[in-house]
C-alpha cells in the first residue's frame, strides 16, 4: 500500500479512489475525506472565505478603497463615522477604513512569516528528533524546553526592546524564535507514533534508507495535526503582534498594522472616541477567530478517531 499523499487536496479524485475495498477504513485519502466533511461545514467554509477576502485585501488594498492611507485632513481629527467614511477618522484625520484596510498586509505578513518559520523548524527538527531519538532527541528537546520556559509575550518584549528599528521582519524573527517549541513537540510526538507503525517497518524491510522513510512515509503520515495546529497558531501570532505593538514593543509608525492603529491613541482618549478602538480590534478579532475556527474544524476533520 502506498503512503497517503497529503498534497492531494482534490477531494473528488481521492474520494473516488477510496471506493475500492479496505483502503477506505485505512484512510488512504485522509485529506480527501476531510475535505468532503469540511466543505459542508459552515464553521470551516465561512472562516476560509473571510481569510480569502483578507488575503486579497493584504495583496491589493487598492481594490477596497479609493483613498490613500496617508492623505489626511487634520481638521477632521477623530471625527465619528459618517456616510462615505464608515469607520470615521483617526486622530490625524485620516479615513480609518482606509487605514484598517492598508494595515491588513503587515498583520497577515507577520502571522504568515512566523507560522511558516515555526512550521519549517518543527518539520525538520521534529521529524529528526522523533525519528532518530536518543541523544539528538535529548538535545533538541532540552533546547525546546529553554524557549518553552520563556512566556511568548514577555520574551518578545525583552528581545524587541533591544531592537531599534522594529519592522515586519524583526518582529517576525523574534516571534519565530520564541514560538516554535509547541509545534516542534507536536510534530515530534506524531512522528514518534508513526515511526513504530507497520508501513515504516515494511518500507525499511524493503530496503528504504532513513531519508526516504522519513520523507516518503513518516512525514506524510504525521503532518496532518501539525497543519491544523499551524492554522490556529497563525491566528494566535496575529493577536500576539497586536498585543506587542499595543504595549509599544512591536511595529512602529510609520508602519501600519492593526496593532499600530490600536496603540496610537492613548487609552484615555478611547473613552470619547470608541470607534478608534472598535474597528481595528474588530478586524483583529475577526481574523484571529477565522484562523482559530478553520484550524479547529480542520483538526477535527483530520482526526480519524473522531470519525
Amino acid at each position: 500500500m502506498s503512503a497517503p499523499d497529503p498534497s492531494s487536496l482534490g477531494g473528488q479524485q481521492s474520494a473516488a479512489e477510496a471506493t475500492h475495498g479496505e483502503d477506505v477504513a485505512e484512510g488512504a485519502s485522509l485529506w480527501g475525506e476531510a475535505w468532503r466533511d469540511l466543505r459542508r461545514n459552515p464553521f470551516f467554509v465561512l472562516p476560509v472565505l473571510v481569510i480569502a477576502v483578507l488575503t486579497v485585501m493584504a495583496i491589493w488594498p487598492q481594490l477596497f478603497t479609493d483613498l490613500v492611507p496617508r492623505s489626511c485632513d487634520l481638521s477632521r481629527s477623530a471625527d465619528p463615522p459618517e456616510a462615505g467614511h464608515w469607520f470615521g477618522f483617526d486622530r490625524q484625520g485620516c479615513d480609518l477604513y482606509t487605514r484598517v484596510v492598508y494595515s491588513t498586509r503587515a498583520s497577515l505578513l507577520i502571522g504568515l512569516t512566523v507560522t511558516l518559520g515555526a512550521f519549517a523548524i518543527a518539520l525538520v527538527l521534529g521529524s529528526l528528533s522523533g525519528y532518530y531519538g536518543r541523544w539528538l532527541d535529548a538535545v533538541l528537546g532540552r533546547i525546546a524546553d529553554v524557549f518553552f520556559g520563556i512566556p511568548l509575550v514577555i520574551g518578545a518584549i525583552v528581545l524587541l526592546t533591544a531592537v531599534v528599528d522594529r519592522g515586519v521582519w524583526q518582529v517576525s524573527a523574534v516571534l519565530t524564535l520564541l514560538a516554535w517549541p509547541p509545534m516542534f513537540r507536536l510534530m515530534r510526538s506524531t512522528v514518534l507514533s508513526a515511526r513504530e507503525s507497520d508501513y515504516v517497518q515494511a518500507a525499511r524491510a524493503l530496503g528504504a534508507g532513513n531519508a526516504r522513510v522519513i520523507i516518503r512515509h513518516v512525514i506524510p503520515n504525521s503532518i496532518a495535526p501539525v497543519i491544523a495546529y499551524a492554522t490556529v497558531f497563525m491566528g494566535v501570532i496575529i493577536g500576539a503582534e497586536a498585543t506587542l505593538t499595543f504595549l509599544g514593543a512591536g511595529l512602529q509608525l510609520p508602519a501600519l498594522s492593526w496593532g499600530v492603529l490600536l496603540s496610537s491613541p492613548p487609552p484615555r482618549e478611547l473613552l470619547n472616541t470608541p470607534h478608534l478602538l472598535l474597528f481595528p480590534s474588530l478586524f483583529v478579532s475577526l481574523t484571529v477567530l477565522s484562523f482559530v475556527l478553520a484550524g479547529d474544524t480542520l483538526r477535527d476533520a483530520l482526526d480519524p478517531k473522531l470519525r
Partner: protein, 310 residues
C-alpha cells in the same frame, strides 16, 4: 517516585540557566550605552561612568557578567533599578509590589476555576443543547479577541459607562480587582471551559462511569466523584502551562487598569530601558513558570495512578 522528582529537578537546572542567560544577554547585549544615557543631555563625568560600569560589571565579557549576576541572584541580590525607581534594590521593588500582582492572579484563578470549570461541566452534561453551544461559541469568541481589547472594552463599559466597578487603581480595596482579574482570566477561562468540557465528555463515555452508574450511584456522585476527578488532569496541566500567559497578561492588565504591581513596574521598566528591573522580573517569572510546571508534573502521580515513573 523520589528518583523521578530528582531527575526532573536536575533536568530543570540547564533550562533555567539557559533561559535566564538568554534573557540577560538579550537585554544587556543591546546597542546603546545605558550608563551614558543616565546623564541625558549633559554626560556624566568619565570617572562616574567608570564607577557605575565597574559596579555593574559592564566591562566584563558577557558570560562573566552573567556569572556574577547569577551569583548575586542566588544571594537574593537582583541589583539596583537604573531608571524606574532609581537607586532602589530590585528585590525591594518586587517585595513592595508583589501583593498586588498575587491578589490579581488569585482573583483571575478564582474566575478561571469557578466560571471556567463550571461552564465546562454544564456544557458537557448538556452536550448539544443551547447552553453547550453558547459556551462553545462564547469561548471561541473570547479566545479571538486580544486581551488588551477585552481590557479596554471592559473598562469603558463597566467602569465608565455603567459606573458599577472602579475604572482604575486599587483605592477601593478588593473591589478594584474584580474587573482586571476577570480581564486577566478571560482567555484562560475560555480554554479551561473547553478543556473541561472535552475531557469530561470523553470520561462520561468511559467504562468505569457505566460501571458506577450500573451499581446504582446517583448521577451527582458518578459525575462529581468519578468522571469529574479524572477530567481534571488536563485542566491542571493547562493551568500550570497557562501561568506563563497569566504572567504576561499582568503586564497588559496592570498597565490598562493602572495597578501598581510587578507587571505594571515591568511595563514601565521596558519603556524606560531599565535593564536590571526587566531582567530581575522576567527571570523571576521564568522561575515561577518552570517551578509550577515541575510541581504539576509531580502532582500527576497523585492525581493519576495510571502514570508510572521510571
Amino acid at each position: 517516585m523520589g528518583r523521578y522528582i530528582l531527575r526532573r529537578i536536575l533536568q530543570m537546572v540547564p533550562v533555567v540557566i539557559c533561559a535566564t542567560f538568554l534573557i540577560y544577554a538579550m537585554n544587556f547585549a543591546l546597542p546603546g550605552d545605558p550608563v551614558r544615557a543616565l546623564g541625558g543631555e549633559r554626560p556624566l563625568p568619565e570617572e562616574v561612568q567608570e564607577q557605575i560600569r565597574d559596579r555593574y560589571n559592564l566591562d566584563d565579557p558577557l558570560l562573566v557578567q552573567y556569572g556574577k549576576y547569577m551569583g548575586n541572584v542566588l544571594q537574593g541580590d537582583l541589583g539596583e533599578s537604573l531608571a524606574v525607581r532609581r537607586g532602589t534594590d530590585v528585590s525591594d521593588i518586587i517585595a513592595d509590589t508583589w501583593p498586588v500582582t498575587a491578589l490579581l492572579a488569585l482573583v483571575a484563578f478564582a474566575f478561571e476555576i469557578v466560571i471556567g470549570i463550571g461552564a465546562g461541566v454544564v456544557a458537557a452534561l448538556r452536550s448539544g443543547s443551547f447552553l453547550d453551544n453558547l459556551v462553545r461559541g462564547s469561548t471561541i469568541l473570547i479566545v479571538s479577541v486580544p486581551i488588551f481589547v477585552i481590557g479596554l472594552v471592559a473598562q469603558i463599559v463597566f467602569g465608565v459607562r455603567l459606573g458599577i466597578l472602579p475604572v482604575a487603581g486599587t483605592a477601593q480595596g478588593w473591589v478594584s480587582y474584580i474587573l482586571p482579574g476577570f480581564v486577566l482570566a478571560a482567555v484562560s477561562l475560555a480554554y479551561v471551559s473547553r478543556i473541561t468540557r472535552n475531557s469530561l465528555m470523553e470520561n462520561l463515555r468511559a467504562d468505569y462511569v457505566r460501571t458506577a452508574t450500573a451499581k446504582g450511584l446517583s448521577r451527582r456522585r458518578v459525575v462529581g466523584r468519578h468522571a469529574l476527578r479524572n477530567s481534571m488532569i488536563p485542566v491542571v496541566t493547562f493551568l500550570a502551562f497557562d501561568l506563563g500567559t497569566l504572567l504576561s497578561g499582568t503586564i497588559v492588565t496592570e498597565g490598562i487598569f493602572n495597578l501598581n504591581g510587578i507587571g505594571g513596574i515591568a511595563f514601565d521598566a521596558i519603556r524606560q530601558q531599565d535593564g536590571t528591573v526587566v531582567v530581575g522580573i522576567v527571570t523571576m517569572f521564568v522561575l515561577i513558570f518552570v517551578l509550577a510546571n515541575l510541581i504539576v508534573d509531580i502532582l500527576y502521580a497523585v492525581l493519576d495512578p495510571r502514570i508510572r515513573y521510571d
